[in-house]
C-alpha cells in the first residue's frame, strides 16, 4: 500500500522520525486500538491516536457527556452535553482525521462482554475510573494475551504501566486485589486536576504508538508515577509475582469476573 500525497503530508512529522518512518506509519494505519472509557484519560489518548493515523480505533463508554466532564475530557465540547460519550468522541476523532475508522461502542464493560470487545484489537487502553473495571481489564487482557496500558489518576497524581503478554508483570502482580469500595478516594470525591488526564492519557497513547511501531522501550516491568505538585516523574521497577492470581504459571483466575460496582459510579 503506497501513501497518498495527503497522507505523506498529514503524517510527515512522524514519518521523518527514524523510530517511526514509513514502515511504522503503515503499521499504525493497519493497527487497531481499543480505548475503554472516553473520559479524562481516554480523551487525550483518543485524540492523539486518531491524529497519528491509527487505522481502527474502538471507543467504549456507557455514559453521556455531563457538564462536570468538560474540565478535563477534552474530546467533548459544550454542545455535546447529553450526548453519548462514545458518539461524541467519534465525531471529534473523525473531524481530526476522516481517514481512520472509529467504532463507537455504547456499552458498560463487564465480564460477559469484555473478551468479545477486546478480541479484534491489538492494544487496549484502560481509561476507566474504578478498580472493578481496572482489574477486569487486566485479567481479560492477560487471559486473552493482549497488550494493554493501565493508568490511574487522582488529585495531582497519576501513574501508568504497560503489560505485554509473556514479557512482564501485570497490574495484579503489584496491586493484587481492589481495595474495598470507599476505602480509597475516587476522583468524584477527591477531585483531579484536568491536565492530569492530559498527561497520563497522552502517555498511554504514546505507549500504544510505540508498541505498534516497535519504537523504544515500553513501560513493561515499571510503573511510571507523576506528582504534579512536586513536578516529579518516577519510574518504579515492578517484578512479576510468581504467585500472581492471573499471569503466573499457576493462575487461579481463569476467566474474567466482576467485582461489586464501584462507589464512584454512583451519582452524588
Amino acid at each position: 500500500m503506497a501513501f497518498t500525497n495527503d497522507q505523506l503530508e498529514r503524517y510527515s512529522r512522524q514519518i521523518i522520525l527514524k523510530e517511526i518512518g514509513a514502515k511504522g506509519q503503515k503499521k499504525l494505519l493497519n493497527a487497531k486500538v481499543l480505548i475503554i472509557g472516553a473520559g479524562g484519560l481516554g480523551a487525550p489518548a483518543a485524540l492523539y491516536l486518531a491524529a497519528a493515523g491509527v487505522g481502527t480505533i474502538g471507543i467504549v463508554d456507557d455514559d453521556v457527556v455531563d457538564l462536570s466532564n468538560l474540565q478535563r475530557q477534552v474530546i467533548h465540547t459544550t454542545p455535546d452535553v447529553g450526548k453519548p460519550k462514545a458518539e461524541s468522541a467519534k465525531e471529534t476523532m473523525e473531524a481530526i482525521n476522516p481517514e481512520i475508522k472509529v467504532n463507537a461502542i455504547r456499552a458498560f464493560v463487564d465480564s460477559k462482554n469484555i473478551l468479545e470487545l477486546i478480541a479484534p484489537y491489538d492494544f487496549i487502553i484502560d481509561g476507566t475510573d474504578n478498580f472493578a473495571a481496572k482489574f477486569l481489564i487486566n485479567d481479560a487482557c492477560v487471559i486473552a494475551g493482549k497488550a494493554f496500558s493501565h493508568a490511574g489518576i487522582i488529585r495531582f497524581k497519576g501513574q501508568l504501566m504497560t503489560y505485554v503478554p509473556g514479557q512482564g508483570p501485570c497490574y495484579r502482580c503489584a496491586f493484587r486485589e481492589p481495595p474495598p469500595p470507599g476505602a480509597v478516594p475516587t476522583c468524584r470525591e477527591a477531585g483531579v486536576i484536568g491536565a492530569m488526564g492530559g498527561i497520563i492519557g497522552s502517555l498511554q497513547g504514546l505507549e500504544a504508538v510505540k508498541f505498534i511501531a516497535g519504537a523504544g522501550d515500553l513501560l513493561v516491568g515499571s510503573l511510571l508515577t507523576f506528582d504534579a505538585l512536586k513536578m516529579e516523574f518516577r519510574k518504579v521497577k515492578l517484578k512479576a509475582r510468581p504467585d500472581c492470581q492471573v499471569c503466573s504459571d499457576k493462575p487461579t483466575i481463569l476467566e474474567p469476573f466482576d467485582y461489586a460496582p464501584a462507589v464512584c459510579e454512583l451519582k452524588p
Binding site: I153, Q159, V236
Partner: protein, 67 residues
Amino acid sequence: MRIEVAGEPRDIEKGATILDLIKLEGVETPEYVTVSVNGDFIPKDELEKELSEGDSVEFLYFMGGGM
C-alpha cells in the same frame, strides 16, 4: 542504618520493620499501600519483617480515577 525510600536515603533504627517504616513515613491509607523491598512485593502478613541496611523500599498507591 541507612535505607532508601522512593529513591531517597533514610536513616532508620536497626531492627525497624516495614510496618514501622509505614508509620514513620506517614503513608496515606496504610492498609492499602503496596510495598516492595528491593523489587519484591511484600505480602500483607510479612510487613513485620525487619529491614536491612541498604534495602530499597517503594510504596505503590492505588489510583482509581480516570474519567
